[in-house]
Symmetry: C2
Subunit: 539 residues, 2 copies
């Protein structure tokens, strides 16, 4: 027997309609590509998004057609988010740091019909113009620009497109499982793979992002998404902001510490989100200028483990909580957030710090487990390591347009490729990537734990630990380090630091000093290359 409640689909257009109707005059601040600042609001974003959707229809787009973006965090990108999805098109955000080959691959694999670009990325569009046969139209995200016209004679201008849209366009109704956006995840090997989000998954994820035990967003918040809008939809913040009527402060290309500091204080930002590197930059700017950031209440850190020193500096010196969260493109991305339980409130400072570096626990809507190599379900005791698998309302079912899918466990769980422990309360500690974990004499050694300890050293700029082949133990850890300028730290000194901090058999067999470590387009350490180069160094 069915209930008798209203049938109303979970659509992204409902988010922007709500924001425009009940929070219409709430500011949206946007730093443009030319560093000028636009002040607009949710009502205007909705009006322009509707005109955009209408104009895309006039360009001949059909429901489901993909529209690519290569753009910074700014108000036009926000309009494209809502205008494409609301109009039943798909917003395909592309990371400009991908290689030319990867850019061509994802545009063609997605079968993008439209390419929106910020002027910064005009050279990318010029370089790609003969390699994207299905793209009908490149659209520069701004007003008419002679330089762009000279470089790409067929280019259209965003403001002309908006002007051609109908002011009385109405958002269409359709199935909530319709695709809304598309993000490719670039592994360290193989082609990028696309995750095709739906309106339903996006709205349920937004409810999750808003929860007090997640990012805790309200109409009083002013959010600076420092995480790019081309990176897992800026962690879903544009949607969650519309859901609550929060202000968005979009930093454009200005992601250095000084620019962030200025934006936070000028616009009274309450919450920031991004990867640890950015907060290191902000911290440096704060220390250099002696400035304070009284409006900032919390920052959300994800993407990679956050050093405890950074958490402590923001808390002790600036009264800003750094909140650890974990997710993947495949999880929309919020999968875990490090929010305490009642039992943690009376912990010692040491215990609390040990908790703070964990990835967190799942909010409602996400389920988690760890499994062994043989697929067996392992204990949630905080000690046993296994591959982290997840399941939930905003988790990928299978990749876009790929036949064989190897990431789903047989029973419908997504295998993350992360190795982790889970404690009795569901707190996850990620110890490694499955392919990076070092299997030494049948025991698992966490390369991440060894790296974090090394990076904690003042004189070490970057570090990587790989499993090198070993005749007796199969694999043994080898540490590669980039020393700070002028440092004369020795192998023996570095290894001595591990004593007492990790089990004795975890201590690396060798330290190699290198000039730099190889990172991919999205900043990921390319351990495959390190294993190719150094994997035989113990033989």
């Amino acid at each position: 027997m069915l209930g008798q409640m209203m049938d109303k689909p979970l659509l992204i257009s409902n988010l922007i309609t709500y924001a425009a109707k009940f929070h219409g005059d709430r500011d949206i601040i946007s730093v443009e590509t030319d560093a000028s600042i636009t002040k607009t609001n949710w009502a205007n974003i909705n009006e322009r998004a509707k005109k955009l959707a209408s104009a895309l229809g006039k360009l001949g787009l059909k429901a489901g057609d993909r529209c690519a973006t290569i753009a910074w965090n700014n108000h036009r990108h926000l309009e494209v988010y809502f205008g494409t999805a609301g109009g039943e098109y798909v917003c395909h955000t592309i990371n400009p740091r991908l290689s030319a080959e990867q850019l061509g691959y994802v545009i063609n694999h997605a079968n993008d019909q439209i390419l929106f670009i910020d002027k910064t990325f005009l050279p990318i569009a010029v370089g790609l113009k003969d390699h994207m046969p299905n793209v009908k139209q490149v659209i520069l995200m701004g007003a008419k620009d002679e330089e762009a016209l000279a470089a790409l004679p067929n280019i259209m201008f965003y403001e002309d497109l908006i002007a051609s849209g109908d002011a009385d366009y109405q958002w269409p109704d359709f199935d909530e499982n319709t695709a809304s956006s598309l993000c490719y995840t670039s592994g360290t090997t193989g082609h990028p793979k696309g995750v095709l989000y739906s309106h339903r998954s996006t709205l349920l994820h937004s409810y999750c992002v808003v929860m007090p035990d997640s990012l805790s967003l309200s109409a009083l918040d002013n959010i600076i998404p420092v995480v790019p809008m081309f990176h897992v939809n800026a962690w879903g913040l544009p949607y969650a902001a519309a859901m609550t009527g929060a202000q968005l402060t979009l930093p454009g290309p200005g992601l250095d510490g000084a620019s962030l500091l200025k934006m936070i204080n000028e616009y009274q930002v309450t919450i920031a989100a991004g990867v640890p590197t950015l907060w290191q930059g902000l911290l440096a700017a704060l220390r250099e200028t002696g400035a304070k950031i009284p409006s900032l209440d919390r920052t959300i850190i994800g993407g990679t483990a956050c050093p405890i020193s950074l958490i402590k500096a923001f808390k002790d010196d600036y009264d800003v909580d750094i909140l650890h969260a974990w997710g993947m493109t495949e999880t929309s991305p919020v999968g875990l957030v490090n929010k305490p339980l009642i039992k943690h409130l009376n912990q010692s400072k040491d215990e609390q710090e040990a908790m703070a570096v964990k990835q967190g626990r799942p909010p409602f809507g996400i389920d988690i487990r760890i499994c062994g190599d043989d697929g067996s379900k392992l204990a949630h005791d905080g000690a046993v390591q296994g591959e982290l698998q997840v399941n939930g309302y905003w988790v990928v079912k299978d990749y876009f347009n790929i036949e064989a899918d190897t990431t789903l466990a047989g029973d419908g769980w997504f295998a993350t490729g992360d190795v982790a422990t889970i404690d009795g309360d569901g707190f996850v500690n990620i110890t490694d990537r499955a392919k990076d974990v070092i299997k030494s004499g049948g025991e698992w050694i966490s390369s991440i734990d060894l790296e974090n300890l090394a990076i904690g050293h003042d004189e070490i700029l970057d570090a990587a630990v790989i499993g090198a082949k070993h005749i007796k133990w199969d694999e043994r850890p080898v540490l590669l380090v980039v020393l700070a300028e002028g440092s004369s730290l020795s192998e023996a000194e570095i290894l001595a630091d591990y004593v007492g901090q990790v089990p004795k058999f975890w201590i690396p067999d060798r330290v190699l000093f290198v000039e730099a470590l190889p990172h991919g387009g999205t900043g990921k350490l390319l351990k495959n290359k390190l294993r190719d180069d150094y994997g035989d160094c113990l033989l």
Copy 2:
């Protein structure tokens, strides 16, 4: 084109599974019918709910069958919530204050197969036993009880039922639009009407309840639902608590001020929810004992307008925020919550108090409008009054098992029967019930505003304003008051108080002094009866 995210239905069993898995040891405190206290937790609630679902199947129940409850807020009632819905049955909570005739009507109209009762309500079950032919089994919510056996020889005992359930029962998967619970709403006329909630509407409503701009629930909260579990599912708090892993402190029958004070301090309750009368009782107990309630952060008030004096007393003397919310059985119930916007933070204290008595603004998921008698959509300017209509994910589509439905506007909005203004930010001020608004010479006069001003007087215990027939103006307001013992307040004194507080033409034409005012089973003032008795007094 559909997205490629996991297909996972929004089921109530997912809430209790989550609470048990990630917050299993979080306390559930329950005051039993005999005043003893049970301390259990989410893991146990889940285990027993599963056994209950299994046992109901063994009793021959089929998917969709309704199970009635007449019970206080306690752990067994909580188990019945999850056990029935999780097992694909429907939990039909009944208000014991209904008349015998209404009780019989709703049990038969719902076609209830099972009746769960707390021992307090044994006399109700005895009285009904020959008037509910479809009820297969009455179940006393406790262990074997000789007195109950003597009164109803076929009665079963809840603990025996639980003992008969399978410990390894697994929650079934089914369509999220399946009915999960049923609440009847008793108007002041006609038969009660049933609202049949679905799993989907319940989970989306729970996400809404949890939001910072709604009740803002986290795992750190300890919730005392003083609102009965037979009243719109205790405003959805049992579900929202499971969604966050919050503690529930269930007060059983002890709803007097002294009992609430004891529970709040003994169990460190952080949030309470109920109607204003209960908070008047708590306030009296606080003042009498000189006690403080340091753990209590906020209380949610709904059901009826809250006097500003109560809001001020809790804020100024006890640092407890009273949060105004509005809803109906038909809206699950949360439709509006009074949470400020940025623009309200710098208001004067007077302006903030004027805001605080409003019903609030809609959280995402609810849309609102006001309409005239002719169905025209009226301006949201904070001045124009019209009938409040709502639309949303957890709003009723039509009533259970009733052919003709007159509550839905033609375009799918639910007409609340409340008269309200809406300001430009969506803040609603309910000025009357549509049938109670006084239409004097073409202008609308709010009976509620006139009543609230009268009730604010120290010597007035209760007040009602009706529109009495008038030869010249069609209707004119007449005030009925119940004076405090010993008061000699005169008609002229009472009317003088209105001067300057309301438009002059709102001031009642007459004051009638009465011994008591007639209230229905759920506390609603029976204005129909007052109009029958006094509607001609100006002719």
